[in-house]
Symmetry: C2
Subunit: 354 residues, 2 copies
């Protein structure tokens, strides 16, 4: 593997000194980029784009050609794992993801296989290898997975949901069954993420998109527990470097100290928490990633610069901050505004790393 | 006015001793009740139901006939105020509320009138008077309004939104204009709520459904500021009794101490905060209302009872707790489960009021 030219992102996650604050953008390879839309068109459908390593590599690299980003993230979907468990993922135009065979009964759950990451999910590992080769050491590559709770909601509901009533009812009525499901997902995620590291992922992120829909007690029991378990089983070193792990629970601002105790290296923050307050809460335990409201990118360059400055100032001096949005970038954003953000973060942050 | 027979709800909001914890349910007059669906059918459409005092009274009283609830809440909609400001509210089947004339420009905002609550909103005051008469002192009547920020999102977006990008962009790009809009809404809300008190509302609640979508700094500037301003201008005593005010920011669990400093009497809590932790944070300043996950009502009677017990135990001894869900009850709930919850709360809570 070629030597890493820009390791600012990995260093910040480990709170090692950096020259300026690294930045990447959740969903940076996405619909706001005309070149992404063109590749997506060429692929025909979203799953073909995910499952064709050359195309997944192409869209992964697109934002890096445009912007001075400090990390690439594997282009994929969190639902590849349940799909590989046999649920039959499909996308209907204008609607969210759906599963042909949701899991509801004890039998459904007992029959779930743990997918072999180099077999059913081999296309993801091929994409990781292709992207690493094409990156050629320019920036590190982030691998990722959904959290067990988040994946379970899609698997039990059969798709997106506003209330997660079927999944929560399972947790209330038959917690043992819910735990069996979550254990199987966690086991699948561990082997999936470790395979990504073996294939070349240099950092890992777990997206707990729906953990914030739970009460504190249920969050600890049904979401955080499984993320902590996964973190303890991940390969945390490869190619002579640490492989940092980021946990991100959207809406988890009230549970930061709990998440920081999970053994992860960094916390993702949405924009409802002051990053200064988050830093005060977690102290030296973990780095922080975030936390600009994605809607800020609808505003003018002046506003984007000033809001970026506020977040950098709020975090303050020293390493341990990876700049990002607090959630994925949305399709209507003008790519020029992303350039403004990336350049501002690099420019303004130098003063905090002297 | 006839004497109030059950004042447990008002007493709890003022942290005066009670014999058991009072309970009401957000959206208790709603689609989960077959008798509500029948009246809604009779009315023809939702706005006719809201604007016909006899029908609004009928659905307000329906849940009280079934369950031993400690308060009634005016049946209405938070969007009656922007409708009265001339925006043309309408509902499309299967979609959320919409406005024919959203506000976007300085001219739109400057031209907005402050509605006369006994004129354009006279139907609401008539409903309050009718309900008070029909309640005949059985339980207190809650009046309500949306918060200025929450109403502004509908007024600027023209309906529901996932990201509130138009409203937030106005706040970022032209904060003076956003403040003009919010001031006008706040002024309308003050006169609307004071008219409800004059018409017979015995407690008031402000629903800040979308304040939780903001960053902490923007929440304080664009949402909480206006709620505090409203609270300071409300008529807080009537018929020789205090008129308590409840503020509820959904997703506001990180800002409880700020909200408690607003001058309100009680905070609404969603289910992402431990009520024990909320009580520890706000101390003696305010009462707390909440905070069961509405999805709990999809579970069995045993689970509902046990989850109710946990919340009552978490709050602990003494007055200052009004039991409620952390958000509105959903249409698929079996009314029998509501009965289980209401009765359990009364039964289990006696021990905490000895």
């Amino acid at each position: 593997m070629s030597e890493l030219k820009n390791d600012r992102f990995l260093r910040a996650l480990l709170k090692q000194p950096v020259d300026r604050t690294p930045i990447w953008i959740m969903r940076q390879a996405g619909r706001y980029l005309p070149e992404y839309r063109a590749t997506r068109e060429k692929a025909g459908d979203f799953m073909t784009l995910c499952s064709t390593p050359d195309l997944a590599c192409e869209v992964t690299l697109q934002p890096l050609d445009r912007f001075d980003l400090d990390a690439a993230i594997l282009f994929s979907d969190i639902l590849t794992v349940p799909d590989a468990m046999g649920l039959g993922l499909y996308f209907e135009e204008g609607e969210g993801p759906k599963f042909e065979r949701p899991v509801r009964t004890e039998k459904d759950i007992k029959n779930l296989p743990i997918p072999d990451p180099e077999d059913e999910l081999g296309y993801v590992m091929d994409a990781v290898r292709t992207i690493r080769r094409e990156l050629n050491g320019s920036v590190p590559l982030i691998g990722f997975s959904g959290s067990p709770w988040t994946l379970a909601t899609y698997m039990v509901e059969g798709g997106s949901s506003k209330t997660f009533s079927k999944t929560k009812t399972m947790a209330f009525e038959d917690p043992k069954l819910a735990h069996l499901l979550l254990s199987k997902i966690a086991e699948s995620v561990v082997s999936y993420l470790n395979a990504q590291v073996a294939a070349g992922a240099q950092a890992l992120m777990i997206f707990d998109t729906w953990g914030g829909s739970l009460s504190p007690a249920m969050y600890r029991e049904f979401s955080l527990n499984y993320m902590s378990d996964i973190v303890s089983k991940l390969q945390r070193e490869n190619e002579g470097r640490k492989v940092p792990v980021i946990l991100f629970t959207k809406g988890g601002g009230q549970w930061l100290t709990d998440i920081a105790d999970s053994g992860c290296d960094a916390l993702g923050l949405d924009w409802t928490t002051d990053i200064a307050s988050a830093r005060a809460q977690v102290g030296d335990r973990v780095a922080l990633q975030g936390n600009m409201d994605p809607t800020t990118l609808c505003a003018s360059p002046e506003v984007i610069r000033s809001e970026a400055e506020k977040i950098l100032k709020s975090f303050g001096s020293g390493s341990g901050h990876v700049f990002n949005l607090g959630h994925g970038i949305t399709p209507e954003i003008n790519p020029e505004n992303v350039k403004v953000l990336v350049d501002s973060v690099h420019e303004f942050s130098e003063q905090y790393h002297k």
